[in-house]
């Protein structure tokens, strides 16, 4: 029996991944994602979790063909740098019809999708990916 995907590593982060919880520094006010143990900007440990906006704009993007093992089913992988206003994040993009439809400043919104799957019997990881806004 082989289990390649960790149970606890994902479970520990599910709150942050499912809710897109970022961290706001009470000292300098800057927001970062995912939350670190201290503010990466000013070093303060006074940080609190905040839910980030679920809509944003694409600043940059790529279509990935050199994919890691286990990802062939979802290839090509679309990946983007997204401006959520309070902070920027990188996230996989989904529902992209083809690479040409990706444009700078495209409005995108978060939704839950599968990412890594441990073959036939292991865990499925679900994360928030971003897709072109519906309305």
């Amino acid at each position: 029996m082989s289990m390649d995907l960790s149970i606890s590593r994902f479970w520990r982060k599910k709150e942050i991944i499912y809710k897109l919880s970022g961290a706001k520094c009470k000292s300098c006010g800057k927001v970062h994602y995912p939350p670190k143990n201290a503010c990466p900007y000013c070093g303060s440990r006074e940080i609190e979790l905040i839910e980030l906006p679920r809509k944003g704009k694409l600043i940059s993007y790529t279509t990935i063909y050199a994919i890691p093992e286990g990802a062939r089913h979802q290839s090509p992988i679309y990946y983007g740098l997204i401006d959520l206003g309070v902070t920027k994040i990188t996230a996989e993009l989904t529902d992209i019809v083809n690479a040409n439809s990706l444009k700078k400043d495209m409005e995108v919104e978060a939704t839950l999708r599968k990412t890594q799957e441990d073959r036939d019997a292991g865990l499925i990881y679900y994360v928030l990916k971003f897709r072109p806004v519906l309305v």
Binding site: S60, P68, G70
Partner: protein, 380 residues
């Protein structure tokens, strides 16, 4: 404090299916030891590798290697800093010498990237980037660099054609380097046409997956016999290593800091050559701009004018062929860079020779700059 390069050794970078990691390490180490005049006085082994625990199924490699090389009983240490492991190892070796915990250090960098099929290696290479949440994605090893490249091209209005001069220059230099993995020339227009890894990064924008080892024998002044070069200063810094965290992602903040630190303790002006970390074309462009060797947004253009080419007005960039064409066996790369620079200074480099080279700057970093190392190599 200055440390002295007594001897260097390198293997050609290639898919060495018939050599193990320790075989490659031994190959490079024995050559370095020979040039340094023998094993007498070597009291420390610093080993740098990034993926060897996964590729080679070996932990505490430095210790097993010490015994394997006939150096049983010497002190040994593994250093890992992702792609910057090699220069990190040099930095540690220098500290050991400066603090007199060692008199003569053998630094070996070795890496194998072909023990598994490429899709498995891409998954391993993804670990070079911030794993907190990115490790749950399927972005492989070029995803973040691709986002940075598009950001650069959009921000500065630089087109694909101009970006292609760097890979062409690297290949042109590597063609003369017998240790290089890809020693053949390419024309710039071939870069855009080659296989897309992560759009806009193509195969010819990216380092190849090669196996290799490089070794250096370093000593402090008292133990130095006939050094071929000296390392005047090594500095480093950690940084965001992330596009999304940085307010200015088109500069590597860790490199800015490392360079500032080294400039405070050494004279980094009038460089004859540089060996920089061009894991991808975009990495090289951002490094050149971070170091101030090119104006913001103008690095690609400057490269295209021949400024950094042999015979150009600027310091020669990557006479070895760089990570792009000489190759990038992750943990070994920084050691290759120091070995090449030392040979360059000593007028012994078997490839492109920099006339009257007295001063070279070596830059190594991991990923998008989670850490950066800068070293100044000079003539004795």
């Amino acid at each position: 404090m200055v440390v002295y390069v007594e001897g260097v050794g390198m293997t050609k970078i290639d898919r060495h299916y018939d050599y193990s990691l320790k075989d490659l390490a031994a190959n490079a180490a024995f050559a370095a030891i020979e040039q340094a005049g023998g094993i007498d006085g070597i009291d420390y082994l610093v080993f740098s590798s990034s993926l060897s625990p996964l590729q080679d199924n070996q932990l505490d490699t430095a210790s097993y290697l010490a015994t394997s090389l006939g150096l049983r009983g010497i002190k040994a240490l593994n250093v890992e800093a992702g792609e910057a492991s090699g220069l990190a190892a040099i930095s540690v070796a220098k500290s050991l010498l400066e603090s007199h915990q060692a008199d003569k250090v053998l630094v070996i960098g070795a890496e194998k990237l072909n023990e598994f099929v490429s899709s498995k290696v891409y998954k391993q290479l993804q670990m070079l980037y911030d794993g907190d949440t990115k490790s749950f994605y399927n972005i492989g090893y070029a995803g973040d660099a691709a986002i940075l490249m598009r950001l650069y091209m959009d921000t500065y209005n630089v087109d694909r054609e101009v970006m292609s001069y760097w890979p062409a220059l690297m290949h042109s230099n590597a063609k003369e380097n017998p240790y290089a993995m890809l020693n053949f020339a390419i024309k710039p227009d071939k870069v855009a046409k080659s296989q897309i890894l992560a759009d806009p990064i193509t195969l010819l924008d990216s380092y190849p997956l090669g196996d290799g080892a490089a070794a250096i024998v370093l000593s402090n002044k008292d133990m130095s016999t006939s050094p071929i070069a000296k390392i005047s200063a090594v500095e480093s810094s950690t940084g965001y290593g992330s596009i999304e965290l940085s307010d200015d992602p088109l500069l590597f903040d860790s490199l800015s800091e490392a360079y500032r630190r080294i400039s405070n303790i050494a004279d980094t002006s009038n460089l004859d050559f540089i060996e920089i970390h061009d894991s991808f074309t975009i990495t090289a462009m951002v490094i050149l701009e971070t170091l101030g060797l090119a104006k913001r947004g103008k690095a690609a253009e400057l490269v295209s004018t021949g400024y950094f080419s042999p015979g150009g007005k600027g310091p020669l960039a990557n006479p070895s062929g760089g990570l792009k064409a000489r190759g990038h066996p992750l943990g070994a790369t920084g050691v290759y860079q120091i070995a090449e620079s030392s040979l360059q200074i000593a007028n012994k480099f078997p490839g492109i020779k920099v006339n009257n080279a007295k001063k070279g700057l070596v830059v190594s970093l991991n990923g998008l700059g989670s850490s950066s190392y800068v070293a100044l190599v000079e003539g004795v």
